[in-house]
Assembly symmetry: D2
Homo-oligomer: 349 residues x 4
């Protein structure tokens, strides 16, 4: 490719921002043209993120539609509610948008407004958005102008349940997703609960009575069910891990049949997926094994040979759960090799 | 009480050993007379456990039935298989025994031998053993000569499910226990998997296809079910937390009815229990809140008002999950106040 | 003792507050009568600190001099600047005050104002305050009405240097204290730097060009030097550890003589101290070994037999470094056994 | 470059092994031809290191001089003592060797044998070895057939002291290096001390009376001193951090003069170094900021304007402290761009 893709990151001062920069600054076909932040306008990006010292001369700029329109693609690494306001003008100018926030993930605007407790700022763009889970929607992503990147829990959970639901092997009304995330999922905001003194050396569930990722996951699961199936219904309990990166989802479902070769089913489903690794029977994927990479590793088992299937699914919440998947989507949208810029191996130990 | 109870600890070089010492050395009615270890015979206990420097002049001695018989009570903090060999002689001499290992927890010897992959060394004593979960068996513990202390996962799991199963409110054949433990549960043995470099900053399931605590939990759950109920059947997946102490069990069950006031049910069940704390509706108990104490904290909820009940249960695996519960059992056996020696408050933060 | 000491804690919502409560609620001769907090007035203490559920029925009250005057002793667990305003009225009414903040630690008011960048609100009480390091000032503490509890770094550092400086064995102008603290030292304030995502799995120095504990340490060291000695001068670099509790100070000084038996010197100096443990030659005290206890453990060595002495000193920053030492001071002030309420053994592992 | 460099790793089952693979499997001009392990012969590398699943089809082979001689370069990631036995045969066949162990770091064989407590197996090759610290020995590395990669502590410590010693600004007989390392420095061996249950949530010094890196550091420091200077003498105390990766060295030295612009000195010394980052005055480099990268970040300061200089130095012990530096050396030896294969940005958070 002759000229590089010009990319901008809106709201680049948080963890998904620095993770996007980690991938994009080393992407062979991308030039990061802008990183915006109203609060840090004028500050050198490498002063804000010392890990980037020596790797970039960018400074944070104020977000400006005209300037952003010079770019081929704009990533939104903003809290929900922000992209809604800025996306329409960019779409109108032909810029492609990859939104890492929740703004365009849920097709039903009422549902979105119920869970996010605010009016949706741009309902007309929702229908246009493609849900950026390449393992399901690769073809639509290719032609999309607006991609809504899945949430971290939804990515880990859907990739684990999809083969079972597509094949109709489980009772879809009794799904359980017991998930746990490192603290980086809460972002880079000052808070007491996420202090090391509070969150380390401890473990707890949170938002057990209802987490915003629930409707997103149920929507995604229903999308892959066969016509006529009872709509997927999930009990979803997220937990906070005393560590930085990683999501582990432990998924449970009652099997309709115990005759199926589940290992073969999963391997066949993901055979051609560059970022999904079905581990051998008996494996226990650990979050460590995907740290810093865009991989999802899965294992499937049927404990004691009984009629409950268990799927273990791990991702790095900042990579496949956010910024890595965003770059994967960009690669698909621009016809690049899907692994471009995402080749770095997991950091281990 | 005039004279103190003379206690011995067999196999005192591990984590349950030092935790027993932490409680017993400060117990107002106990004198720790012996701590045994073949491997460390002659070594000062305070040299082995620097945390105890200045608090005890004991040295490890070789285990000897005659000397142990001088004691009123002997705690076994040994790997499974050890207590079986030594317990009969002690029982014959009238010594009371509290076994922290798995040797006498399972009433069906065949089941024990299947899961622990060795012949049981003392099947005749199994029937005599009382399962030391005071919240269920307090009366029998009072008169017991041999108490089998429950495992850590079984304690957290049973305390969470008991009110539901006693009341017959859930489908007992579709129970799920998603549990997670700190690394101290694996004991103080050299191992690669439990290195900080391997286990920290990561999370994984283990023994997902079958953990030895499964038959123990199922036995305990079935014991509290009403006659005629379908026997409890559990899917149990343990996970390894990147932290030292604490067990968190997240329990799921399909409700037979959604009309019951679950909060009231739990509060009534545990009203008089000194070590079980039913937290207010909406709570998320964290392992931190019980660290170093003998408490179990519980919360019960019905996410989204649907027909799945979720129970959150936390204990300190070394305290209520092992050594603390052992001391609680001793207090009951000897007619002491149940909280004697267990008053220390959780360490926070 | 017939009636219990009535104690109040002003500013009890932070880590030194909950640690005071952990000690005082189990102190056999103390009744905690009040815990104040303007911000949390009316909130149950056990709702704020779930670790205390079941152990106290107190609610936070607004600080009020009249009500506080009902108490025998008032602990200030407040940020610096607060005690200064409230202490005079309490002293005037004969209440004894133990201040855990920095307000009364430094005798030279100009120095205090320079380092704390604000006018001192109560310079007239400074001279009255006794610096509450029992190992140096036990006699004065006994009769004091106002005790200024030492800071955490100052406690660990002074206890390590004192034997050397008292004996005049080192060049006092070339002292180095390389110290490291867990994050609980930063308190329970929302902050980005102390997030688990920022502070775990990392290590750094901070305030290397000048930390507020420097003048406090130098004052304390100079107090124990013989007349005529060159005043102690310290290079002090604190570091932030990826853990919650514990301070480790590694102290360096050039020896004037290499003929001295340093081990014997240290053992003699601290022989009668209930909370200072001089470990055997060759030991490496770890913070773990004092966690949750009021102990300081020390080791002294002369690497390679050269002329630099190294002292290793560990404390729990919230215990001997703050709330434990405060209770120790209270015990001394009220003629109680010095270890009362402080008997709990370190939590290990 | 037309054909790729064929590389072998001897002893590839540990942490420096997997870190070499992380770099070399993504190095554009390298083909990893062999990874040896006697113990794991025949095991797939990706089964041993799940983080590498999908990235390599290699299996561990037994080390064999003939087969190794097919390679252009052989890395030894073995415990000390191993390379000594195998290196001569490889050198004789013209293979280039990069030894990550301590076998060839110390020029004085007696000193080596004293500290490593065994006879040196290949003293004749010692003189031939070039000490692989590129910032000092780049020219010699270029032509070397055998490079001895520096230890982790020696790298961080030397890079911090070099500018001061070269310029003769400090008293070289009073150097102090207070250093701390993550647990990965202890390697992937089963051990009690390095268990998460032992090493997390705690901090301690170790080997304070004499660590094997001391003679290596002193040799390196003396090499850069001007003729006639008093030979560098160091007090070196390493500590164990409750985290996986990272070394932080805090260096102290008495200044001969306080008139020098230390910031300018450091910046000038490292201006052209691709992997040394001198941070702005007032910075506190954190290990986090170099995690996974080959960088060393430094800060220099003079606390309180006194006459002691403090240098803060951080590296990733497995990267710049071992495998990254080994790849840097390889790049220099083979005339490749020095940053080839080492471009990945630090993982943050």
């Amino acid at each position: 490719m002759d000229s590089k893709i010009r990319a901008a990151i809106v709201g680049g001062t948080g963890y998904t921002g620095v993770e996007l920069l980690r991938f994009l600054l080393r992407h062979p076909q991308v030039e990061v043209a802008q990183v915006t932040s109203r609060a840090q306008e004028g500050v050198a990006v490498a002063d804000w993120f010392p890990s980037l010292r020596g790797s970039t001369a960018l400074t944070f700029s104020a977000p400006d539609v005209d300037r952003l329109s010079d770019c081929d693609v704009v990533f939104f690494a903003t809290p929900h509610g922000v992209a809604q306001a800025q996306v329409p003008a960019l779409l109108a100018r032909g810029v492609r948008v990859i939104d890492l926030s929740a703004d365009f993930r849920i097709r039903d605007v009422d549902t979105w407004e119920h869970w996010y407790r605010q009016p949706h700022g741009c309902p007309e763009a929702v229908a246009q958005a493609v849900y950026g889970l390449p393992e399901v929607n690769r073809a639509q992503i290719r032609g999309a102008q607006l991609v809504a990147c899945p949430g971290c829990y939804p990515t880990a959970t859907q990739l684990g349940f999809i083969p079972l639901l597509e094949a109709g092997l489980v009772d879809p009304t009794r799904l359980v997703a017991n998930a746990a995330s490192g603290t980086s999922g809460a972002g880079r905001q000052a808070s007491v609960d996420a202090l090391l003194s509070e969150a380390s050396d401890s473990f707890k569930a949170y938002a057990a009575s209802g987490h915003r990722h629930l409707p997103e996951i149920e929507q995604g699961l229903r999308d892959v069910q066969a016509d006529g199936a009872a709509p997927a219904q999930l009990t979803f309990v997220p937990h906070l891990l005393p560590m930085i990166r990683g999501i582990h989802a432990t998924l449970y479902a009652p099997l309709n049949t115990t005759g199926e070769d589940l290992q073969a089913l999963f391997e066949a489903r993901y055979r051609d997926e560059p970022f999904v690794d079905v581990m051998p029977a008996g494996s226990h994927p650990q979050t460590r094994s995907v740290r810093g990479s865009n991989l999802c590793r899965l294992a499937v088992l049927r404990p004691q040979g009984r009629d409950t299937v268990v799927v273990l699914s791990v991702i790095d919440n900042l990579a496949k759960g956010a910024s890595g998947q965003a770059v994967q989507n960009m690669n698909i949208m621009f016809g690049l090799p899907e692994q471009a810029g995402l080749e770095a191996l997991p950091l281990s130990p």
